[in-house]
Symmetry: C3
Subunit: 356 residues, 3 copies
């Protein structure tokens, strides 16, 4: 009898520094996925929802929502990287490199760029650099992440510790604005706001007005759409025996819902350029109602562009508490506030005011 | 520090008679939206679901379900018109003007056509005429509605009262049958019924046999798909403090589910021509089971057409009570029956029997 | 007043041996349906999800998931065949005859091939052969099924008993491998497994590792997407009065979820060739967590093909019990184990190892 064909995913010992993994099950993203993404998140960005707007902006078609692209690409890496993860510890240096259009087929690859066994010898941290490509083998997205992964056997010898150097943030010069894009074409009548890059001040806080209550069906539909197979999101029977006691909402769904909620107040932030870092500070469950707060961290001009600038933003996802009642995302003891579920540092593109 | 960029929507004082509002976030309706519409409502109309049937009928492609078009167009108006609505009071003179096809991009505009402050000075009624256009700027849909909107400040001076004249119904001559359509091509084998316009008698009542139980996830998916941002449908935390105590199902979802339930018995009603008026007589919540009853109100020949006629119908949506048990949509005290949630007066096109 | 236009479906007396029924409401399957199918089931087969993979395999486009095609075709037959069914008793001789692509329009026809009144005279068994066709009138799918249907009137005279001869299984020679397909192109890097037809041994058991908890919204979305109108899945009010006490999950949704769960361990089973038979051994409800077990029943070479073979598999769907805890799908009394909800006998195509 052959060994079981149902493989259990990789354990810490299975990762070798420098190893390259081609993730299976490439995925064509279609109009169907884009419609579902709107239905699941409430996203409204006209560049992703309206073909004529995208064309006026210089794209050949409406673009796939940046986060939909990310979730699909990320989902590809799960079976190889994080099926046995204890925790997703962090992201860094995530950059969107080229527009993705409906009809594009996305595949992903990862390279192991760091390893560190934990002191308890029962798990270790794996650092990977992942890249997503379209059907022309053009890179569309790159990111680093690190996850804590179980060891198969605590007695296995530890690998040499290598901790990669990862940037605190993606600097303005590394952001990929398409050369022939025309952000100035993004009319206020189309997005609903005349506020441009020039109008946002570092330190400014925006309490986005809407809330969204999550359901089990919603987050599972989203996570299955991304073909993300992490079991914590789907298997209530197993999760009842976990410390959470129930299914966890995929952190990426939380990011997407909060990004969609933040449309009101960031209407002209037409594309995500980069994610500098982020953490899921508390778990999110079905039944939770999410709200979003944005803090403007920085406002960067972009080399060679007077029509578009970048804003570095902090996106806080808050559950079961309206933004006005959150004075600080940290509790008095310095830990994350128990109602804060997301603390994301990311960078968007926004048109600048036209100068006469 | 600039003022908050998260705008609170318009209050009664913000509306000026004659003001024109171009609603933001145009939307391309795709095959993905059409598939979701079927999954969310159970709609089965072959003209919307089967390309060869639509082509035999003279359309260049299957058409977008009339109500999907309406919900998308209506959703566009919500952030500007009804985000601070106390209640949606009514619709009138809704007319479908041209077919909408997958790939079309829809935008909406509204004009304020009436204003009346309430005696309590804390709110007022705003009347708007809204129009939806496709990417060629052709009008595809027009409707009037009136909503009660909060005042920002009870002390604000009232506007001059103007109450627009709105028709009781859309007369047959105002219904837009596409000139080159061929309704006679709608074969009984394709729809499941040989009943034609000629077979429906004014006064006839049809108790549609199926029921549909609603879930929170379903109605929120639908309402997000339409990019309708009214908070009462999404924010359980806020709604717990409301008089309803929980999220409300978007009235448009109720209309769509009841229209889909009414397919059995109205199989050849291939297009909605107009909505004459309607009211959501009671709230609908997740967990409610909906049934539908149709009463035939009138049967109209159409000028210059012997192949197609119009039926004016009353569609009653009933919750948690099978149609056979509803003898009258009004309770003994004259108020709407507590199980009736929808009372819609609308007009459909149906092929006529061919005459030798 | 005309008779009610809402027809109650066919009763046992309405079926005549040899009668042919053209089922209404043909359906164009689009990218939207395919995206929803992924979101609803978690399906990952690259031939259905990635255009370049399907093309490398010799298809002109990605193919519609076999089970999505089946559910749509099956749904067409429900209003005529099984709306008044007491129970779906079985399937036999289901064969996929030609690939189905997004954009194809599917219609279905059935022929009554057997009738047998039950001893209690209150119901009878109807045997039908159903066929589905695309827009070119090419057959894409054929199957036999038998259902127990209520009689309208117990006093009606019974028809002559005719029980059709149906095969125990679809023999290898009857399986339709497309002549110009190139299964060897299905790279391990694309599916995630190098296991080929040659590696599977009759008698081998695969406990698929993942579980999926079902929600009311999910199964209703799926069943509505297929335009299957069987009321037991949708009407909680009616089902509360049934012996089940609540809505039943459509058995086809259970098949699809279990097939998707079985991807891990059957990665190269790129197409379903046939369903030999199957039964829903216990009801499935929202809240149940499903797991899947595969037993390899047979391994068949295919006439004239050295690049692809067929595997006959048994797919067991298990609820609320992890596969490792199920030693036998039968309980000690010989009845199906109470946690086994699906026992499906089906045949897949899988690439063979290339020989030098």
């Amino acid at each position: 009898m052959p060994p079981s064909k149902a493989r259990p995913g990789n354990y810490f010992e299975d990762f070798r520094l420098g190893a390259r993994i081609a993730h299976p099950t490439p995925r064509t993203i279609t109009d169907g996925d884009c419609a579902l993404y709107i239905a699941l998140t409430g996203a409204r960005g006209p560049v992703h929802c309206a073909v004529p707007v995208a064309r006026a902006m210089g794209y050949r078609d409406r673009t796939v929502d940046d986060l939909l692209l990310f979730h699909v690409a990320f989902g590809k890496t799960v079976p190889d990287i994080s099926l046995n993860a204890v925790a997703n510890l962090g992201y860094a240096d995530l950059r969107f490199l080229a527009p993705c259009y409906p009809g594009d087929t996305i595949r992903a690859e990862s390279e192991v760029i760091g390893l560190r066994e934990n002191a308890n010898r029962r798990s270790g941290v794996v650092y990977v650099r992942s890249n997503a490509y379209n059907q022309h083998d053009e890179p569309v997205l790159t990111w680093a992440r690190w996850v804590m992964v179980h060891k198969r056997n605590p007695e296995s010898p530890p690998p040499e510790t290598v901790i990669p150097s990862l940037p605190e943030l993606v600097p303005p010069a590394a952001l990929a604005v398409p050369a022939d894009s025309n952000p100035a074409a993004l009319a206020a009548a189309v997005t609903g706001s005349a506020d441009r890059w020039d109008d946002y001040e570092p330190g400014e806080r925006i309490d986005h007005p809407s809330g969204m209550t999550l359901e089990e069906s919603d987050h599972m539909l989203a996570t299955r759409l991304y073909q993300n197979t992490a079991r914590v999101h789907f298997d209530e029977l197993a999760m009842k025996r976990s410390s959470f006691g129930r299914r966890l909402v995929y952190g990426g769904h939380v990011i997407s819902v909060c990004r969609a909620l933040s449309y009101d107040g960031l209407e002209n932030a037409y594309a995500i350029a980069a994610i500098n870092g982020g953490s899921h500070t508390n778990p999110t469950f079905a039944g939770d109602t999410l709200y979003a707060i944005t803090e403007v961290r920085d406002r960067w001009a972009l080399p060679g562009r007077t029509d578009v600038g970048a804003l570095r933003l902090r996106l806080l996802g808050v559950k079961n508490l309206v933004p006005a009642e959150l004075t600080s995302p940290a509790a008095p003891d310095g830990k994350p506030h128990p109602n804060v579920v997301l603390d994301l540092d990311y960078t968007v593109f926004m048109p600048r005011k036209s100068r006469p």
